[in-house]
Structure formats: C-alpha cells, structure tokens
Symmetry: C3
Subunit: 315 residues, 3 copies
C-alpha cells in the first residue's frame, strides 16, 4: 500500500493539465560529529521532508509556497507568528516573497561558503558570517520585493516590529552577475536599517573555468555596545574536479573593546551519484567565550574546533 512519487522528468509528460502541484523532496544525514563540543564524538542523524507548492493564475502570474516537515507546527499564532514557511507571487512586475525568507541584504550578499558538512563545521566556526544582517530582529516575518534587469537584480525588504520599540527593519540590495572571458563574476551589496542600527555587506565572487572559485565578503555590523561585533571580513576558496569538491574559508570579526574573534573551516564533498554525497567538515575558532566543558584552554577566551564526517542523502 505504499505510494511512490517519481522524479520530475518521468512525469512531465502528464503534467499539462495540472494547474497547481505539490512536489516533495527529502534530505537525510548520517555520520559522526566531534571535537570540542563539550561532549564525546557522537552519532549524527537527521532527516527532513520539504513540500514545494507551485501554481499559475489565469493571467500568467506564478505563485508558490514551501514548508518543511520540521517547521514549527502552526497551532500557535499561525498567521502572525513565523513558523518556517515561505510563499511568493511572481510576474513581469517582479517577485514578492514573504515569510521565513532573506531580507534584501542577505538576498544580495553571497555567502563565502561552498560544500556541505553534516554538522556544518566549516561554516559555523566563531569567524563565520551568513550575511543575516538584521533579519529576525523583529519577529522574522519578512517581505521582500525583487526585480531583475539584464545582469542586475535589486530588492527591497521589510520586517515589522510589533513591540512598543517599533524598530521596523528596512533593507535594500543589488547584485550583478557577468562573464569575463570564461570567468563568471558576481557582486552583491546590501543595506539594512532598523532606526537603531544600520548594517551593510558587500561581496564578490569569481568562478573560473578551471574549477576554482573565490568568494570574498565584508560587512559593517555597527556595534552598539562593548563586546558586540563591529565589522566582519571573510574569504572562501574552493576547487571542483569531477565528483570532488574541496574548499577552505577564513573569517574574522572585530569586536568593540574586545579581541578579534576569528576562525577557519575546511570541507570536502565526494559525490557518489544518485543523491548520495560523502561529506567531511572541520572548523576551528579562536577567542570564543570559555565554557567549562567546551574548550581546550582555560581563561577568558579559548579556542574551539569541531569536525564531522558522514553522508548527505538527497531524495
């Protein structure tokens, strides 16, 4: 009594009459994760299912939504509280996306990270930054409008603060992608403001025909208090050859009135085909606040490193 869902390509021929559809994909991880996590090397297992919905209006607008099996159940405040879902409507006017989506800064700025590790060690060390800007500081319900023109695209975004402080977040971003003699080049610039803080990020990346990728990023985080992060700079370099991807990255924060916090990461992915990828990741951090079980060195600041090895499985 099991129902099998087939790959897209096998069924496209029958889809002509479908006005709206739900597509299902899955992802699972199995392996081990260790290092100075404050615990032993442990088994790491995770699985998730994603529901991607799409449709088209009679007038040709496309729309859709996405939600995960492990999203927060919507029982509490389904509409006004963010639970992990996104939805969009798109047409010649551009595209509006709402929900748990990137603000315009994050949309415009490209991450410096390549490859995946089951515990994301390479991209979650103390020097890592994901261009999150001010996203999530006002409840996480984001609306973003984007528009493309040639090699350029631009976006504006908003996140409404319903607290008495009323610190609504507004953002703007622009990005460019082009090709210079076989090298694909991209630039991104994003800015966000919530009337208390203003942040910006600028990123650049180059993908060469020999398989080498270089990503760089810089962000002004506008520290408001001693101990807060003020600026960030990072670089990621990767190389792909056949089924193999190897990448390294380094990132560093300047902290107001404190020591620099930085870290670097390494990742290797080997694609076994059919959706299975062998993944190994390593991350190391300096000057992270010391907790009793989580660090090698005592004192006010220590260092930390973590690793994971396993399989990432896509369905």
């Amino acid at each position: 009594m099991k129902k099998i869902l087939l790959a897209t390509t096998a069924l496209v021929g029958f889809a002509g009459a479908a006005s709206a559809e739900v597509s299902i994909s899955g992802y699972a991880e199995m392996g081990i994760a260790g290092g100075n996590r404050g615990a032993d090397t442990q088994f790491w297992t995770d699985a998730n299912v994603t529901f991607s919905m799409s449709g088209t209006t009679d007038g040709g607008l496309t729309f859709g939504a996405k939600v995960d099996l492990d999203s927060i159940p919507g029982n509490v405040g389904p509409g006004l509280t963010q639970g992990g879902e996104t939805m969009y409507i798109s047409g010649s006017f551009g595209k509006i996306t709402m929900g748990d989506t990137d603000g315009a800064l994050d949309w415009a700025a490209q991450e410096i990270y390549m490859g995946t590790a089951i515990a994301d060690d390479h991209s979650s060390h103390a020097g890592a930054y994901w261009n999150s800007g001010l996203d999530g500081t006002a409840g996480g319900q984001i609306a973003r409008y984007e528009y493309s023109f040639g090699s350029f695209a631009a976006a504006v975004s908003a996140e409404i603060d319903t607290s008495i402080a009323n610190n609504d977040v507004f953002g703007v971003g622009v990005k460019y992608s082009g090709d210079f003699g076989g090298t694909k080049v991209g630039f991104g610039l994003g800015y966000q403001d919530n009337s208390v803080q203003s942040m910006y990020a600028v990123t650049a990346n180059a993908t060469m025909s020999n398989g080498i990728v270089i990503n760089v990023g810089y962000a002004d985080l506008d520290a408001q208090a001693v101990g807060a992060k003020d600026t960030w700079a990072g670089i990621g370099v990767g190389y792909t050859s056949g089924a193999l991807l190897v990448a390294a990255n380094y990132g560093s924060y300047d902290v107001l009135g404190g020591p620099t916090v930085d870290g670097w990461g390494l990742v290797a992915n080997y694609d076994l085909g059919g959706g299975a990828v062998v993944m190994a990741g390593y991350g190391t951090s300096s000057n992270v606040p010391v907790t009793p079980a989580g660090n090698e060195i005592g004192g006010l600041y220590g260092s930390d490193d973590t690793f994971s090895v396993g399989l990432g499985l896509s369905f």
Copy 2:
C-alpha cells in the same frame, strides 16, 4: 531529485488498481493584517499541507483519514488525546466519523459565512458564531454517525468526558436540502446536551439563481452564569458574479446580565484562477471586554475592528 504530484484529473486513468491512496493538497496565505489587534499592521504568512487518505474494503466499504502537517505531533497520548486527525468508514449503513470532527449540532447547522479572508476577520468578530455547540468541552475526541435518506440527512454524536465530572456530550442533528423553482434551500437543526447544559441551533439558507445567497441562524446557548452567552442570532448575505464574491454578515449575542455583544463582517474574494484568490476581510465588534492595547474606547466595554488583505493560494 524533486518529485511532482499531479492534479487528480491527470492521473485518474492509472488509478484503477489502487486499493488505498494518499492524496496531498496545500494551502498558503500571504498578506497584511491590521486593525485594533493590540499591535501594528503586520505581515501575515501561513502554509499548511493536508494528507487525505482513502481506501475500499473487499466488501465495498469505503474508509479514509485526514491529517495536517501542523497537527499536534502524536507523541503525547497518540490515541486517547486529540491531535487534529479525523477518520471515517462508510457504507450502505451510513458513515461513522471519529476524531477532530463536528458534533451532530455543528454537522446539521450551516455557518452564515461565505468567502475567506487570510485572517478571517469577517467571521471572527465578537458577534460571530460557528455552531460549535458543546464540541470540545470533553477533550475533543468526537464520534459521529450520519445517514442520508432522500433530501434529508440525520446524525448522532458523542464525546466522552473522562474527568470525574463525567459530563459526556451527546448530540443529534437533522438537515434538509431541496430546490424550489431554481432556488436551492437548506434547513438544519441540531441539539447537544452534557447533563449540565443543553444547546440547540437552527439554520436556514437559500441560494438564488441570480447569484445571491442568504443564510440565517439562531442558537440557544443556555447560559449557566452571569456574563455567559445565552442566545445568538445571525444573518449572512452574499453575491457571486463571475470571479467575484462579496458578502456581509451580522451576528448578536444576548449575555446573561450583561450588554448585547455583536459585530458584523465584510469580505470580498476575487479568483485569479489556478488556485490563487485575492482576499479582503473586515470585522467590527461592539462590547468586547476592554484590554489595554486592543480597543479604541476605554471603559468596561469597547469596540474592536480588524482587517486583512492578501492572497489565498491552493495547491
């Protein structure tokens, strides 16, 4: 590696051999919601996925179940605690439905509301009533048996109280639908009793060939204490023309030893086709208990109004 599920019509030809099946549908909302909610006008986003299962026994009985992605995870008391699921078995004997389903009163009585708003403003003002009767007063695990004969259908229902009070809820309902010279007419009558309270509801509706629909309802809520709601009466009027639906409703509660609590609602839906509908809703309430941030007028009783505008997306 995505799997696409097709619309029903595209696949019916292959379904002959299927003895049991799971069908998947999705719904999402995006827009803004505001008014006197005690907060700013905010973004409203929500998405859900519904799993509808059905099968047929060798003897020709049909059965099925329905559960949502945002149902309460069943880990705690899966069988005895209600988590949002329903299931049924049906045959020439009638149909038995169990779980998070309507008691016989709600099954028989028709709502006065038409159309949908993303925040349901038009149907959730202080004067709104959904014929819920005593449903949910004893844990929410309901069993209902229904049977149809010609233009009539009848149902009985039970909800077992496992507390020491032992106030089991029993219900009975009957409804009629017919056609008088092109006007479709329906009547509903439902009654519930839990040995402390007894409630009844009576509803009537007419759908005219010119697109006008009129729904009326009355309920005796059998107030047991000062401040409780004693009776309710409401009317809803709607008009459909092509892709457009507009509707208005008014409802009013008599409160034991207190002022009348009433409200009215407006809703407009415009169908863009393909599953996308533009939705606007408005609701206003009088004599709702005043909370500091949620009302316009100070004092013991105030008024309240809310609105929402956005897209409802079905997949």
Copy 3:
C-alpha cells in the same frame, strides 16, 4: 486541486529513470479503548503519515531514510538529538542503519507478539517485553551494522553516552532462519553491555504449514537494585485462517526482592481487505504497583486489565 499518489504497482513502469524517490504511506486507527486505565472507556483515534525515501549511488550502493509526520520536530538539536528518524546505506559489505533503530539485541531477538490492537493491549500488559535491551539508555542515537550469510545474519551496534558517566552501549546479535519439512524455524540471540549492566535475550519461533505460530523468548535483564527486573520469559501462540488471526501470549518477570510481575494478552484481527483490519485486543496484568484510580484491588500490588476494539486502516 488535490494530488493523488497511486499504488506502487500502478506506476512502476514509469520509475525507470528515477534515481531517488519519496514514497508515502499512511495509517489510522479508530475505535474504543477501556478497562482499568484510570478512566472511562474512551474513543481512540490516531493517524500518521510515513515518508520512506530511497536511492542508489552510481556504484550500486542503496540508501534511504524514513521519517514520520509525528516525529519530534527537528528544531532543537536536529543532528545530535534523536527525533524518530532512521537512515541506512547498504551494499555487498552489509548494511549500516542509524538513528531511531534497534540495537543488535533487539534486531536479533524476535518479539513473541502477533497481530495488532489499536491500543496494543495484548502486548503492553505488565508481563510484556519487547527485547529493548539497553536501547535508549544513552540518548537513543543508535548505529547498527548487519551482514547476512546464507540462513544466518549477524549485527553489531553502538549507542554513545555523552553524559559524564560515559556508559556507551555496545551490542552484538545473531539470528538464523530455516525450513524443516514445511515448518519455518527461527532463532535469535542478542547481547548488550554498557559497562554497568549486561543483558542478553534468546528467542525461538516456529511457523507451521497449518497456520499455527509459536514464539518463545527469554531475557536476562541483570537487575542492579531491589525492585528492578532481573529475568523475563514469555510465550506467544497464534493461528491464522483466511482473513482471521487469533493469538495469545504470556510473559513473566522475576523482580529482585519482589513478587513476580506477569500478564497475558489476547488479540484477534480480521482483514476486511483493501487495507482495513478489524482489531480487538485484551491484556491483563498482575502485581503492578497500585495507583489510586488504575486498579481493581487495593494494597501494595494489584491487577490491571485493558481492552480495545476498532479498525486499523493502512493506506
């Protein structure tokens, strides 16, 4: 706008190109459950959806994952915390399974229970044992490697304790299945140790051509304190004839410094076809600790019995 997923057989012809797929199955229960549960006879309803994912690497390894709709949402500690998911990779080297899966003891030992009841009364009385061994005593993240050779299969398993006690669980199991003149025979032997406790279980079963099945089991539970369970022995006998299965079982625990705790169960299943099964179960227990509302007889130890009747629906 509903999407129907078809039965496996209907779509196999199209599946050739699919490299990875998600199959969906559902299960629901409806009925009543009663007895000395400390409450009235109540309605019992439950529904769940299971996502089974599978794929094949270019080199011919098969892999997959399984997760339920009512698994614990993965938001908290998705990788290191067990939320109900399992995943595997399999090839000529054997099979590695991780997550919420059986340790080697439980994998090798066969349960004595046959049939299903909606509330599992027949297999959850005070004398029931499920060969769980030490599974779950160290967080529940289990890794198991298994290998088959002819009529034999063997497995080893581990569960890492990340607490300061460091009581990692290791297990080993072996099982055999064969056919002696039309009677299918199986044996299982499993052992687990966490450096504080060591447990073993041994089971045997015979399935005769006349429809009778006999299962027996014995487990040494290595009680560490007065009041703990030290050994268990049980027997289950079933008979299948056409659509009908009836089965009975008895199990008994020796308790260190306390009375024997035992119970027996009865179950009957009648298959209506198409995925619907009528299920009746009964279980009775002796010498369970007395709680005010849950027992017939006062005093330090009493007895307990429960029953359930309903439908199990598979989709």
